[in-house]
């Protein structure tokens, strides 16, 4: 599979959707009666959190594929998905802390289940790369990482459940509350933001996959031109390596 195919169209679609999303968030969606202007953080924070968690689940699904087929490309897909979700996770934690400070006057609230459960998920996945790095044998590394990705991926939906089951209402309830959820204009802005964030994730995922494939193909080309001695061994790394023959 060539991951660079249609990457240009995907990038343009992402740019248009993201621009539309932020345009709708600031100029179309009404001001929240309770939180006022700071509620606009919702349109970047919540889609980012949902896409990050979705990416972790996608990583788990790719890991299942890897264990079923033994094909290293599925391990690479899982690795890239988790890697990107971790980057988005950093964004979620930072934007969440900013929203918390603006809303509650504190950067972090430890008795809020939504925040703490997301932090637990994030810290769990933060151990993924060090775990990979600690295993020298590449085949074992891929297998263990897949098992980890599946177990952790199954844990992720609990984060969504925690939001619904949480009794404390210190976390801002701005989406699908018992009162009937978001107003239509806010909902539209939110859905376009979510679509934009999902497109951004897919685009970056494909960029990263294309980059890893190109790197592997360059190594294969060097080997063909100069022989095995010219290619320096990869050494110990957390990233999966694709066969370069």
């Amino acid at each position: 599979m060539l991951y660079g195919t249609r990457l240009r169209a995907l990038s343009i679609a992402t740019l248009i959707t993201m621009t539309a999303a932020f345009g709708l968030a600031f100029f179309y969606a009404p001001m929240d009666a309770d939180q006022g202007f700071m509620q606009k953080i919702f349109y970047v924070h919540v889609p980012m959190a949902m896409v990050a968690l979705g990416g972790f689940v996608f990583g788990g699904i790719m890991a299942i594929q890897h264990l079923r087929t033994g094909d290293p490309k599925h391990d690479l897909r899982s690795y890239v998905a988790i890697h990107l979700s971790l980057i988005l996770g950093v964004g979620v934690l930072v934007t969440g802390a900013i929203w918390a400070k603006a809303s509650w006057g504190h950067w972090w609230v430890w008795d809020e289940p939504t925040l703490v459960s997301f932090l637990i998920v994030f810290l769990l996945y933060a151990t993924y790369q060090p775990m990979r790095f600690s295993i020298e044998d590449r085949e074992r590394q891929a297998r263990y990482a897949s098992v980890f990705a599946i177990v952790a991926g199954a844990f992720v939906p609990l984060n969504f459940l925690a939001v619904r089951l949480a009794q404390a209402y210190t976390h801002p309830r701005v989406f699908a509350t018992a009162d009937g959820g978001l107003p239509a204009k806010m909902q539209l802005a939110f859905l376009v933001s979510l679509a934009g964030m999902a497109l951004l994730y897919v685009t970056l995922w494909r960029y990263e996959m294309a980059s890893k494939h190109t790197s592997a193909q360059l190594r294969a080309l060097r080997r063909k031109l100069s022989g095995d001695d010219a290619v320096t061994p990869v050494g110990r790394t957390a990233a999966p390596s694709l066969p370069t023959t």
Partner: protein, 77 residues
């Protein structure tokens, strides 16, 4: 009445605009850092491809030289 009109047409930014700007800046900064990392990878690929291209040229030059020498060597035998 004058006061109300003045408030309705004020250019003052809404409350907490700094926090909202900071949150969006964090998001854009993350994407920008990612793009910079991808750009550096692309530059490395470009360098490696140029090296391999040179290597292929050298090998082709070496092969052409060997082919030219072959008939001369056959003639001297």
């Amino acid at each position: 009445m004058t006061l109300v009109l003045a408030q309705a047409t004020t250019d003052a930014l809404p409350d907490n605009v700094g926090y909202v700007a900071a949150a969006y800046l964090v998001f854009f900064a993350l994407v920008l850092v990612y793009v910079v990392i991808m750009a550096s990878k692309l530059a490395r690929f470009e360098r490696e491809l140029a090296e391999l291209n040179d290597l292929a040229d050298e090998r082709r030059g070496g092969l052409a030289g060997a082919r030219e020498r072959e008939p001369e060597e056959a003639g001297t035998r």
